[in-house]
């Protein structure tokens, strides 16, 4: 079925006009927009944009949180054959300059005053940016800037235009081919300028459909839209699949209320990166620690049972009658209420992706009866490459290739993908396009991995990051930094890890503690601390971290391939790694090279065997001002283990 986004909108509006399309919580009440309302809104916005001069193939950025009018604007832009480009709403103003100029953007949708201010700040650098429309007028009424207008005004102008040209909208929609460009996504990129990933209606909708078929999604699903719209995952789950299936997308009241709204909506189809699942689990565990003794004992007894039989039940394996009865009791007493508190009572399918998920974390959710699975994909593949079928979810794989996808592993271990969902190109960057998309149609993922005995794909690390240990006891052994970092991050007290070891004789790591978890841990031990920096340097905290590192080392020593990646030395950083300081990408991935440069004194000190090192770091606050943090950091050793050779 080849179609386009606006055509799907018109179909839903014609076939089931009164069905709910979108909800937004406003003034404490969920306000519903039906498909007919939405189509009318989109038509008016499209007419308004047309009058303002937006034409086929023009580009319009949309910046803001999930709101019905943001998605309506994207649809309106697509209806005119123009291309919406969602940008991250928390990006600094300067980060928006490149995408705007690279894509010759002339029109912008900005959610509110904050986003408008950002765009006005960089206007001198982006002279072609002629028109800016804002959704929320608060604080903006005194602004007198050329080309700045409210979405209400745009809609009113469109309303008048539609009255005069009633067939305009349908005519415009009919002109769009499914092979036309539908949207562009700028990838954050760990190095260099971001790249604009160009997708067509075909590529996005084909993948949306494949994913929906795989999990048998229907128009009855409820989805909460709470992740940044600029991220392709959010776009697939709350836009492409929304239009492909016709289900209901719910927009939270504000970012801070997402967890409350989640509970109220009770989504049936849910997606979150591992860190969100981790955050939820941490909050449950902290609240359980504070609960009464009886509740705590009941919780722990039930969870022990769930750990034992829950995953087997989820995977559809045979479980003894006694265990099944006990589990049913646990379900009434603990699991059911817990799912309800988390907002997962009605979840039929939940996915996690983007990062590796810890085995304990993964099995926790499955054991309490939530069908959590993993998938594999990226911006360039319109998400769906591999998915885990129900009953086959594992923590260490990312599933089987889904419909239409071919996978092969190159000689250097890189995973290559052929799929109808591949990007058309990187915008105005044929060199980069040629690098990832070879003439024979294979997309080079730059992930290293392999297909395991069950036909599931397993990812180890980025190809370029996989290195070799040079010299020392593990000379020539493989070093997979991400693999090591993830193993450490699976401990609840550790938030971020940066591992070094390529071309060196041993592996050393920087560690960021999780302030909430370690803070709570310290409070329960009556360990006083003044703040993050102070807590991070406590000897007790070092001991805690050391135990984690040594557990990972013991685990790694069992792995033939990766025994050489054991961590010899570590330190706990004095500040949290932050995207505002350039240390993380906007999707919260560590930028290893950048961090190595910035903290080169620390890396050198670790390898020189020192036991302490002074460091001063410049930090950037949210409002753009800078300050500095300084500390003398402790450097510590960890025990490594002799590799256990697998029995022949």
């Amino acid at each position: 079925m080849r179609t386009t986004f606006p055509q799907l909108l018109l179909q839903h509006a014609a076939q089931r006009p009164q069905a709910s399309a979108m909800r937004e919580k406003e003034y404490g009440i969920w306000q519903t927009l039906s498909w007919a309302d939405l189509a009318a809104l989109v038509q008016e916005l499209a007419a308004g944009l047309h009058q303002a001069g937006l034409r086929r193939h023009d580009h319009m950025i949309v910046v803001g949180a999930n709101r019905p009018r943001l998605y309506a604007t994207m649809l309106a832009v697509q209806s005119l054959g123009a291309v919406p480009i969602p940008l991250y709403q928390d990006a600094a103003a300067t980060e928006c300059v490149f995408p705007i100029n690279n894509a010759e953007v002339t029109f912008a949708f900005a959610e509110d005053q904050e986003q408008v201010d950002k765009l006005l700040e960089i206007r001198a650098q982006c002279p072609q940016l002629a028109r800016i429309y804002y959704d929320d007028p608060r604080g903006l009424r005194k602004y007198d800037e050329p080309g700045l207008a409210s979405l209400d005004e745009l809609q009113a102008a469109g309303h008048a235009y539609v009255a005069q040209h009633p067939d305009f909208f349908k005519g415009e929609v009919a002109k769009i081919a499914s092979s036309d460009v539908a949207a562009m996504f700028f990838t954050s990129g760990t190095t260099g300028n971001p790249k604009g990933v160009v997708h067509t209606h075909d590529s996005l909708l084909n993948r949306a459909r494949a994913g929906a078929d795989f999990d048998k999604l229907t128009s009855a699903e409820e989805v909460l839209a709470y992740l940044p719209p600029a991220w392709i995952g959010q776009n697939i789950f709350s836009y492409a699949q929304w239009l492909a299936c016709g289900y209901v997308v719910n927009c939270p009241e504000s970012a801070a209320t997402a967890s409350i709204d989640l509970k109220e909506i009770g989504p049936t189809y849910y997606f979150a990166p591992p860190r969100i699942f981790e955050g939820l689990l941490t909050s449950v565990m902290i609240r359980m620690e504070d609960a009464g003794a009886l509740k705590r004992r009941m919780f722990h007894a039930c969870m022990a049972l769930a750990q034992r039989v829950g995953p087997a039940l989820m995977d559809g394996q045979a479980v003894g009658l006694k265990d099944r009865l006990l589990y049913a009791l646990g379900n009434v007493l603990v699991f059911g209420p817990l799912r309800n508190t988390l907002g997962f009572s009605r979840v039929r399918v939940a996915y996690t992706a983007g990062e590796a998920i810890g085995p304990d974390l993964f099995s926790f959710y499955r054991s309490i009866g939530i069908n959590l699975k993993q998938l594999y994909g990226s911006t360039e593949t319109a998400v769906f490459v591999c998915l885990q079928p129900d009953n086959q979810a594992r923590a260490d794989t990312v599933g089987v290739p889904c419909e239409g996808v071919q996978i092969k592993v190159a000689d250097n271990g890189e995973i290559l993908v052929k799929s109808p969902g591949l990007l058309k190109e990187y915008y105005k960057n044929p060199a980069a396009t040629a690098e990832v998309l070879t003439a024979d149609g294979w997309y080079h993922t730059s992930d290293a991995g392999f297909i395991d005995a069950h036909g599931h794909l397993k990812i180890i690390d980025r190809v370029k990051d996989v290195g070799r240990i040079k010299g020392g006891a593990f000379d020539g052994a493989m070093f997979a930094p991400k693999y090591v970092e993830n193993k450490l991050k699976f401990f609840q007290h550790i938030k971020e890890v940066v591992a070094y070891g390529d071309g060196r004789e041993k592996v050393c790591v920087f560690i960021n503690i999780d302030f909430d978890a370690v803070g709570n841990w310290a409070e329960r031990r009556n360990l006083p601390y003044a703040g993050y920096t102070d807590l991070a340097q406590k000897p007790e905290v070092y001991q805690l971290v050391k135990e984690c590192v040594e557990k990972v080392n013991a685990d790694l020593s069992n792995d033939d391939l990766l025994a050489g990646s054991q961590v010899s030395r570590f330190l706990v950083l004095h500040k949290e790694l932050d995207a505002d300081d350039g240390e993380l990408t906007r999707t919260n991935k560590v930028r290893r090279g950048f961090i190595a440069d910035k903290y080169s004194v620390l890396v050198d000190a670790l390898y020189a065997g020192k036991s302490s090192q002074f460091i001063e770091t410049v930090v950037k606050f949210e409002d753009g001002r800078t300050g500095s943090v300084s500390a003398t950091l402790r450097l510590d050793d960890a025990k490594t283990f002799a590799p256990v050779k697998a029995a022949a």
Binding site: Y27, G28, I29, R138, G139, R141, S254, T257, D623
Partner: protein, 261 residues
């Protein structure tokens, strides 16, 4: 849409003197507040700023002088009538109901506007229920305005101080005041909280057209957001004018920095 245009005098304070026994708190103070403006009252500790606000909303009765509000002149304000006349205030030391939710605290600010009786409300009679719904709508707008949706059902006592200050402002806004008296709205806040609060005060003034009279110690804040400033020292007025005029006033400089004689 309220394009901010400063209007006529809405509150006129004339020759106010207030003393407690032999202690003169205020001596012959006169100043006026115009519609839509943000008027700051500043001065060193003990200058009589809070006393001045207390005279305006009827907590204290000045011995001499008069206060004219919206064309009506009073020798002293009646604390019971002030609120219904359209003067709202927040407090230097919060006076919220700690055990009640944010929603209920702000709802309590609408007390004066609720017409139905206690029994009609308790029995949830039709008219009473409809009335409650309209009031709730108004309260929800304030919650949205102050961006405290995530704490709607949270007991106020559990909130951090900066948020409690915001709830206090919300309750004052709930009575839809013409004039809002803010007693040190930014006291005890960190820089970020102060910036937020400044934005809210400016937005209240801009969106609702509310006239604001505020006492504040943070000079940066006062000079940034006020239209006019009146300066008190030892119960006497020593300066009155725009932030720039006040900043260059010799008496004000010596009151704050001291002078060499």
């Amino acid at each position: 849409m309220s394009d901010k245009e400063i209007g006529d005098v809405i509150l006129d304070v004339k020759n106010i003197s207030l003393s407690f026994g032999g202690v003169k708190a205020l001596t012959d103070i006169s100043f006026n507040v115009k519609e839509h403006e943000i008027r700051a009252i500043i001065g060193p500790n003990g200058a009589g700023k809070s006393s001045m606000l207390n005279c305006i909303n009827g907590v204290y009765r000045p011995q001499i002088g008069s206060i004219t509000f919206k064309g009506q002149t009073f020798s002293h304000m009646d604390s019971h009538q002030v609120a219904s006349m359209g003067i709202g205030r927040t407090f230097q030391n919060l006076a919220l109901f700690k055990g009640m939710s944010v929603l209920d605290n702000i709802m309590s600010g609408r007390n004066l506007k609720i017409k139905s009786g206690i029994f009609a409300q308790a029995l949830r009679l039709g008219p009473a229920e409809r009335e409650e719904i309209t009031h709730r709508e108004q309260v929800e707008r304030i919650i949205d305005f102050l961006e405290i949706q995530a704490y709607r059902k949270t007991p106020v006592g559990q909130l951090p101080y900066g948020l409690q200050k915001r709830v206090d402002l919300g309750r004052a806004l709930a009575m839809e005041p013409k004039v809002l008296l803010l007693d040190e709205p930014m006291a005890g806040m960190n820089v970020e909280e102060k910036q937020d609060m400044c934005r809210f005060v400016l937005d209240v003034n801009d969106e609702f057209g509310t006239t604001v009279v505020l006492i504040e110690h943070d000079m940066g804040v006062v000079m940034d957001i006020s239209d006019r400033v009146v300066v008190l020292d030892y119960g006497k007025k020593i300066g009155d004018g725009t932030p720039d005029e006040v900043r260059n006033n010799e008496d004000v400089i010596s009151a704050y920095l001291g002078t060499s004689h």
